[in-house]
Symmetry: C2
Subunit: 336 residues, 2 copies
DNA sequence: ATACACCGTGAAATCGATTTCAATATATAG
DNA sequence: CTATATATTGAAATCGATTTCACGGTGTAT
């Protein structure tokens, strides 16, 4: 049913080899034959069979992306960056949603093994550095967003979580807050862990004792933030500011506060992380930390495709991108 | 470098054909040979090459999804449904973001033509019915979410936009509202068009004259809703309720109101569509219309895979799923 | 004991492109 | 006008699996 290269060849009165040369823009084809072939392709509506092409050329022109949750704006922004860069270089993108499960992440990595994809981008992966290195050692292309992995073949793009986290908390402290809640994400997540580290560091910097009862986990989603807040209220602990490891959880905090008639920022200052698209539309507008998510996806993808296309050992492998604390209406100096 | 089927065969002391039979669960292999082969596969860490398999079997075990914007929760929820169902049936999913551009939608459809994917799911496509039918006529598998297309080979899943839209507006009218704004999405979108139709129908039902100045376009995103609202304020038109063709635009409306100290719902009732994950977290909680997005993705995918796997002409092709108007805190009876 | 069916296995063809290598046609130099 | 270099082209091998077909071996019926 489908048109094959031989059909085009016979219609154009040439050999399949020549048709292939035209398709792949080899320069050693006469203009005359080239036009003959192109006409035949047009007339027959010929599309080269991808499987045959992949088999012979040993590449699929596809890359995989493994994200923890494609419902979360953090991941989709990054994926857009990946997708656009890939598309520009004629690569397809296979998106996999690991649903925050380490096992599903592993299963998807198996996709790589059968050469369905030429390489894989891991966004904030849950599996260990060792496991990732092993895959790269086997000769597969891997790139990481959101973590730094020490392997010469693995390009990495990330921000300094500890640093901006520290900045956020120092900002709150400088505005008079001392009783600052931290709502973390998944325990297994590097991001979550490092943001906690920055929080603790800032407290230490200003010699404010760490109060464990102000630490809660919200699993990076709205409901988690909401429930974490309810637990805090139940504890009857005193606090004047809440720092959430992402914006989704901050939204949950907003809801919990609305239910208790706690005013933001008058009664409580709130800061999130990610600069989620909605953060500037909610009331009050949410203070947060911006990461160049789209760019991170794009940079890494470009780098990976580069690396896949030639074995030249490149200079730059690790990209640390800047993040920026954005203060909006959701926080104010204490007692003002 | 890679292990091939012949390597497994020689290690197990059998022919490649037998290895293939084991891999594909043919039942005509002795238990003894089967275990021998499986051991060899294990020891060598063999993964069948996808390209070779695809070429010979004439299928890629992959389906494509074309969405207008993978940053929008409406699409990602559906995609999750598609992804999970596909995964369960061992299909990979290639996700394409058309960025609301009809041309990019067409370009991605070309992926289908080279057999990279076995079929494609179009979510709220922008291209015409005719174009879609043509593709199906050429023998490609296509499924549609969010529109009904009259072609016996194309499974469709959608809700009755006109109906729920009418319900929403009638609800507002029954609560005393007569001056109701409608903020539409993309002009080209069927969803947007049909929701407008429902709006108009409800007005007609209650003999309320249509006021064109209460009609604005918000392009389905937060900023569009925000700007639409500002234009309405500038017009100085009188209205007591706003119906947005999706929740994102309603969020923009919230922001515009906050800036003018217009209270929701006291001064203005707001209703959206989609039951976006955030709609019950914002303040006040947003009234909206729920569609079973995940289920829609899953149903259609199941149906498509079914259809791809046997040519049996199935009974049910069109699935109309129920939508439900959810009234939350963002609207109240007029003058109460 | 003979004939026939059936089961397990291997050899070889096949999927549809790309690519190597050799052959032919053309161009350039002497 | 011949000899050599170069530009185009085609035949055939190749990528790595699946699948058809044929063959030998075992089991059952007559």
């Amino acid at each position: 049913m489908d048109i094959k290269i031989v059909d085009v060849a016979s219609k154009a009165g040439v050999s399949p080899a020549t048709v292939s040369r035209v398709l792949n823009k080899a320069n050693n084809v006469t203009l005359k034959t080239r036009t003959k072939v192109m006409e035949a392709i047009q007339e027959l509506g010929y599309h080269p069979n991808a499987a045959a092409k992949n088999l012979r050329s040993q590449r699929s022109m596809a890359i995989g992306v493994i994200a923890q949750d494609i419902n979360s704006a953090y991941f989709t922004e990054i994926i857009k960056g990946v997708e656009n860069m890939a598309y520009a270089q004629k690569y397809k993108v296979i998106i996999c949603d690991s649903e925050n499960q380490r096992d599903k992440e592993r299963e998807y990595l198996n996709l790589l093994m059968d050469r369905t994809i030429d390489g894989v981008v891991l966004i904030a992966p849950l599996i260990s550095d060792e496991e990732i290195c092993q895959i790269a050692d086997k000769g597969y292309s891997v790139g990481i967003i959101g973590r730094n992995i020490n392997h010469e073949k693995i390009p990495c793009v990330f921000t300094d979580n500890v640093k901006f986290s520290q900045q956020v908390v120092l900002y709150l402290i400088e505005n008079g807050h001392r009783d600052i809640v931290f709502i973390s994400g998944y325990a297994e997540s590097t991001d979550s862990y490092e943001r906690l580290e920055g929080y603790l560091k800032a407290l230490r910097d200003r010699q404010i004792p760490f109060r464990p009862e102000l630490l809660e986990n919200g699993d990076f989603n709205e409901d988690g933030g909401y429930e974490a807040m309810k637990r805090l209220f139940a504890k009857n602990a005193h606090f004047t500011a809440v720092y959430c490891a992402n914006d989704e959880m901050a939204l949950g905090v907003y809801k919990a506060c609305a239910e208790r008639n706690i005013r933001i920022p008058e009664d409580l200052s709130v800061i999130g992380v990610d600069n989620n698209r909605i953060s500037k539309y909610i009331t009050p507008t949410l203070s947060t930390v911006n990461q160049p998510k789209y760019t991170m996806g794009a940079i890494l993808t470009e780098k990976m495709i580069d690396q896949m296309n030639d074995d030249v050992h490149h200079d730059k492998r690790v990209f640390v991108v800047d993040s920026e604390v954005i203060i909006r209406d959701s926080c104010k100096p204490l007692g003002e």
